[in-house]
């Protein structure tokens, strides 16, 4: 240092230089600080905007499902057209179509093209209604009866603005004439707009306007019942064993590593397990709520075990020791004192695990739950469908009207999940004790 030709700077000079350097850098550092903070805020904003877009899209796509356009028609049951010996074979749809044509003041040509076109606007359910009415009371033949029901999905979509008159006629599923009729029916007040109760009281159907979620909701409930009855008791008892009774040795280490890994196994692998083990080896009926419940129970098991263990861990040892001190056995101490205190945590964890199981789809596809199941399942070993799979099936359907129903089914599914999560939160808030 000393032999260098140094410019003489005093200590105070150097201090000033350093301060100047620091201050000039400070700006940069603060700018970078602000930038970094902004990245964080941006990340949160991005994540939340995804959430808003996701939920918003589903609500905007699905909301129109809850509105339905229905029509009431007075159909004269012409005895000449009804063969009393073969009630099933009568073309009731045509009679309904003719009744509507009469209402519109149109005359059909000899080939029946107009009535065919009208038939395309009506749900085939009208025909079944007439058939059932006549079956119940054959005296109705010759009289005029009133049937009411939803319009065909395409007509419904026109009223909802999904099918536009402005688009070229050949690209639409409805012709100009059909649109004119629909407008006429609407302006004459024959078409009524109302809340779609049918969506909640009917099950899957090949006709979009007849399809509802009831079967799927019941199927989901049954499956979840099986899952809850298996996963919760077994999971809780396994956790109690591992936490309170198991000796610490390599065997329990194996079980622990095993449980942690099971929790991260892809869900589709559980579907393969269900197919290979439950269907092929044990002969559990395919696509039944029992089978789905079994598979989902195995999937939910690790989550329940982990939640229960952490809840048991949080109970202070003094509780256990006090029980042992007054002469309780280890089993009594656990089952009379520790476990009841851990119950809120156990319930919260179990409900969350079940809510997760409710939304699970992939393993259920493997065990044959994708089949079309009309109606509500009657037993645990009958074919059933569940909400998330119903969503998947409808999403794959080609008719456009199923798309809004898919979104509506998602809304139903989300409502159930939100309810379950809310229950879990209430349980946690109300009963959890901090030690």
């Amino acid at each position: 240092m000393t032999d260098l030709p140094i410019t003489t700077t005093t200590a105070s000079d150097r201090a000033r230089d350093i301060r100047a350097a620091v201050e000039s850098r400070l700006k940069i550092r603060h700018a970078s600080e602000r930038r970094f903070r902004l990245y964080g805020q941006l990340a949160i904003a991005i994540a939340l905007s995804f959430l808003v877009v996701l939920l918003g899209r589903i609500v905007t796509q699905g909301a129109s499902t809850f509105v339905v356009h229905s029509i009431s028609v007075q159909v004269p049951l012409d005895p000449a057209r009804i063969d009393r010996t073969a009630l099933e074979g009568v073309n009731y749809d045509l009679m309904v179509a003719d009744a509507i044509l009469a209402k519109l003041g149109e005359k059909d040509d000899d080939f029946g093209t107009k009535s065919e076109a009208v038939k395309d606007l009506m749900s085939p359910d009208f025909g079944f209604q007439l058939l059932n009415m006549i079956k119940a009371d054959p005296d109705l033949i010759g009289k005029t009866v009133t049937v009411s029901g939803p319009l065909r999905a395409n007509a419904d979509l026109y009223f909802k603005g999904e099918i536009k008159r402005s688009s070229p006629e050949e690209e639409r599923t409805l012709s100009n004439q059909q649109l004119d009729w629909l407008d006429a029916l609407k302006s004459s007040g024959a078409v009524k707009t109302g809340f779609n109760f049918g969506f909640f009281t009917k099950s899957d159907s090949t006709e979009p306007e007849q399809a509802g979620v009831l079967g799927a909701v019941v199927g989901s409930a049954m499956m979840l019942l099986v899952t809850a009855f298996l996963a919760v008791p077994i999971g809780v008892m396994a956790a109690v064993y591992l936490e309170e009774f198991a000796p610490k040795n390599s065997w329990t280490d194996v079980i622990e590593v095993n449980i942690n890994n099971l929790a991260a196994v892809p869900s589709i692998v559980y579907g393969l397990l269900g197919l290979g083990l439950f269907i092929n080896a044990l002969g559990v009926p395919r696509s039944s709520p029992l089978l789905g419940g079994l598979v989902l129970a195995l999937m939910a098991l690790p989550t329940v075990i982990i939640a229960t263990r952490s809840s048991l861990k949080s109970i202070p040892p003094s509780i256990r020791e006090a029980a042992l001190g007054v002469g309780a056995s280890r089993t009594q101490a656990v089952f009379h004192h520790v476990l009841p205190l851990a119950m809120p945590g156990v319930m919260t964890g179990s409900i969350l695990a079940l809510a997760h199981a409710l939304g699970e789809t992939a393993p259920l596809l493997m065990i044959g739950m994708v089949s079309f199941v009309p109606g509500v399942p009657h037993g645990f070993d009958q074919a059933a469908t569940v909400l998330p799979v119903q969503v998947y099936i409808w999403e794959n359907a080609s008719e456009r009207a199923f798309h809004e129903r898919t979104a509506a089914a998602i809304m139903v599914l989300l409502v159930f999940m939100i309810l379950m999560n809310a229950v879990a939160m209430v349980v946690r808030r109300r009963f959890e004790r901090r030690w």
Binding site: S32, F36, A238, P266, A281, T361, I410, L414
Partner: protein, 480 residues
């Protein structure tokens, strides 16, 4: 029906023996519980357990395997007329015989008159087996009930250590429950390995893992076009990798930065609002993400790329414009981005935990040296948390590889070796779903291939999980 009555009887017997055992033990102590070794209820429970549980287990096993036993008894003795049937027809024949015997719905197969006679004969035989199995079970159950009673009841007196015995049962039950988890793993491994071995009998593992041609359609006739069937899974692995990379490009930065913001910058109030909101994103079922990808993100991306391609048309980038103009709804980018959205809360909550477990002293030391917050995060907190965050990313990658619904609904079915995110790709999970959700017989290489893919998927995710969990655990121990 009969089974239900037997179950009721068994339950009633357990209750009765409980009361009997309790009374006998009390009587032996002269009616004073204070002189007994255990509380009176334990004596009753002990007897009831021995009476009820073995018989109930037997009934359970019989219900579980009775049908199999019946089936194997049925096929031991086959009438000569059956020799003209193919293997599947035979299988159907015996299933129908069993169904007839139990009064269930038979298949829609139509039988010739003489075949029908054979069927009815077999159905009768099956009926005989059903009754025999049932009666045998019930008889054995009665024996077990008696033996259990005789084994326990005479030994009861006031000094009998009933509580310890009952607790032995409880311990056994608890242990059995904890073994269920191990059995599940074994079940997964066994069923995957078993079916995969059958698959690898017809397709060599080397061809499966390294082959580049995937077309699992096995033709109905030998001369059919494309009937050869290709089982080279490399394109699937490439597709899976591509989607996973895109997902991590979205989830990694967004998740990590939101974790940093939540743990280092946000106040307790903001945290209390944002964290649950992010958790909602985690709770949304994957099928909903799939729907979102297929019907919202897919069309938006396609339109965006198509109109972008329109800008290039006629210019120097005409080729690119033409390519962008014909991009489809289903592409790796859509599936990847939506999967990334799904993984954001996963990455963020794991990283948040890990950043939070970095000791405050490290931060305080850094602040004391005059570092700003971001410098502290970048130079102190993140390096300290790096192993844990790496573990969290590995777990997220394992999730992305195993995710099924989003790719099934948004990625497509064409197996292509490509790293172009605008192409339709297919993944391992998509192929498992498509191979197993059609109507096909179970033993074809086509369905068995799904198990081969499943085994690969399971092995890869297992390794990732073990490594990641080990890293995270090590990291936690470091600061505990």
């Amino acid at each position: 029906m009969l089974t239900w009555i037997v179950i009721l009887i068994l339950a009633a017997l357990s209750v009765v023996t409980f009361l009997m055992g309790r009374r006998k033990a009390l009587a032996s102590a002269g009616g004073s519980p204070a002189k007994m070794h255990s509380l009176p209820g334990y004596y009753g429970t002990y007897v009831a357990l021995w009476v009820g549980v073995p018989a109930a287990l037997l009934l359970f096993v019989s219900i579980l395997f009775g049908g199999r036993l019946e089936h194997s008894l049925l096929i031991t003795n086959q009438p000569p007329i059956l020799h003209q049937l193919s293997v599947e027809q035979k299988e159907l024949f015996f299933q129908d015989a069993q169904a007839l015997a139990e009064g269930r719905q038979t298949s829609e197969a139509v039988y010739e008159p003489d075949m029908k006679v054979a069927l009815d004969a077999k159905a009768n035989e099956a009926k005989g087996y059903v009754t025999a199995i049932k009666q045998g079970t019930f008889a054995l159950m009665a024996v077990l009930v008696f033996a259990g009673f005789l084994w326990t009841f005479p030994r009861l007196n006031k000094d009998f250590r009933a509580r310890n015995r009952v607790e032995g049962w409880v311990d056994g039950l608890l242990m059995a429950c904890s073994i269920v988890a191990v059995i599940t793993t074994l079940g997964i491994i066994l069923s995957l390995v078993w079916e995969s071995l059958r698959f690898f009998n017809s397709v060599s593992p080397a061809e499966f893992l390294l082959g580049t041609h995937w077309s699992p359609q096995i033709g109905m006739r030998d001369d059919q076009v494309g009937s050869s069937g290709g089982f080279g899974a490399l394109p699937l692995f490439a597709g899976t990798f591509l989607v996973m990379m895109i997902a991590m490009c979205v989830a990694g930065p967004v998740g990590l930065f939101s974790a940093i913001y939540l743990s280092e910058y946000a106040g307790p109030k903001a945290r209390a609002v944002f964290k649950p909101l992010l958790e909602i994103l985690a709770g949304v079922p994957t099928v909903v993400y799939g729907f979102f990808a297929a019907l919202t993100v897919g069309p938006i991306f396609r339109q965006g790329f198509n109109s972008l391609g329109g800008l290039f048309l006629g210019g120097p980038l005409n080729e690119l414009g033409l390519y962008l103009g014909q991009v489809q709804n289903q592409m790796a980018l859509v599936a990847g981005v939506v999967m990334g959205i799904m993984l954001i809360p996963f990455v963020s909550s794991l990283s948040d935990d890990i950043i939070n477990s970095v000791p405050q002293a490290l931060r305080d030391g850094s602040y004391a040296m005059g570092a700003t917050k971001s410098e502290t995060v970048k130079r102190v907190v993140l390096p300290a948390a790096l192993p844990g965050i790496a573990g969290a990313f590995l777990l997220a990658i394992s999730r992305a590889i195993g995710e099924t619904m989003i790719v099934t609904m948004a990625a497509g079915l064409q197996a292509k070796m490509t790293l172009n995110p605008l192409e339709t790709v297919t993944t391992v999970t998509v192929q498992i779903v498509t191979l197993l959700t059609g109507d096909q017989e179970f033993d074809s290489p086509k369905t068995l291939a799904a198990f081969g893919l499943g085994l690969t998927l399971f092995a890869v995710t297992l390794v990732l999980n073990i490594v990641a969990l080990r890293i995270v655990q090590k990291y936690r121990e470091q600061y505990d």
